[in-house]
Symmetry: C2
Subunit: 211 residues, 2 copies
């Protein structure tokens, strides 16, 4: 990556460099949060973990709060990309296929999503006593709920989900179910594959054929 | 309560006193855990919160670990008593009534159960890095799962739940659902009454009439 001093004639746009550095720092924050929770993640600790100076961390994040908010955003981006990956083979997925992909992407089934889930737990805990984080977390929850509700409505219109079911209640249930199974996977009660089977079992009952 | 020096002729059995003191200390631990998480709950802090000496806490609990294990046990007792309260009006409840009572008792719907849920979260977090606590927690989870599965089977036999449903999957779903809704109540996304309605909506679909 070109540094500022190399930029004589033309230069790689600085924004790419910024994004990479922010990602580097955020990933360090993630690793700390997954190991010890967010309480341990001071700017100094994050700088050490990322192998950069504290000054550099402060250049990108004016406060610890700002760093945490960026990390939530990063978590949401990861989730979106996990959903996209599950749908990659399907150019125009039907609403029910999208709903499956979405529900399964919410479960920690590999190392990355396991770390992501531990980070979410850390945010959840911190949100219990920090209003700003709680609001951001709450907004993410509301968006996810709206997205799931929308997919359920679309699947009802395409005839893939029974039209007599209440889309809002079903969305609440699916989100709470994946949340509960996530806790269960993290604490070692449930294997990721068993949790996926349970989600599939639940989604199957929503189809008109099952009723 | 009679102290040892009062016991000349006859005396209130010491065991009652012990139980009360243990409960007093455990409730202090609960209050700290609900406010700041279990990390803050040292023997010294618990003694201060309970208004007793550190020596007295050590008399009842040889280690911090032992105190935490007692607190989990206390949480389980509270849960059982909450279920009993919900069934109090019903001398011989049917399996489905018991299942309703059990599922609703798992949600934080009043101050005591809210505190209990925060304590459970604190144990869950600590269990992620403490094998002994994780085992105790895991055992409680397995027992609860077995109890729910048993009630679902009984309700299938009494004709209150559709016999084609898989009792083990349904138990996993019900437990994960209440767990997910509990997190959602704690973080302020969902009102306790709305969560109860969602649980009722879900249970209603398991009846033969709904299918």
């Amino acid at each position: 990556m070109a540094s500022q001093s190399d930029c004589k004639g033309g230069c790689v746009p600085k924004v790419v460099d910024h994004q990479q550095r922010r990602r580097l720092i955020t990933e360090a924050l993630w690793r700390i949060a997954a190991r010890h929770g967010l309480e341990a993640a001071s700017l100094t600790e994050v700088a050490t973990e990322a192998g950069v100076s504290k000054g550099l961390v402060q250049h990108y994040f004016r406060s610890r709060e700002e760093m945490l908010l960026f990390a939530i955003d990063h978590a949401n981006q990861r989730l979106r990309s996990r959903i996209q990956q599950r749908l990659a083979s399907d150019a125009r997925p039907k609403p029910m296929a999208l709903l499956h992909a979405l529900a399964l992407a919410l479960l920690p089934t590999d190392e990355e999503s396991h770390t992501g889930a531990l980070v979410s737990v850390a945010f959840f805990i911190r949100g219990l006593s920090n209003a700003t984080l709680a609001n951001t977390f709450q907004q993410g929850f509301a968006e996810l709920l709206a997205l799931i509700t929308e997919q359920i409505r679309a699947a009802q219109q395409s005839g893939e989900i029974d039209r007599t079911l209440d889309p809002e209640q079903e969305a609440h249930i699916l989100l709470a179910l994946t949340g509960g199974l996530t806790s269960s996977i993290l604490s070692g009660h449930t294997a990721p594959s068993a949790a996926s089977t349970t989600v599939e079992y639940h989604l199957a009952r929503l189809t008109p054929a099952a009723r």
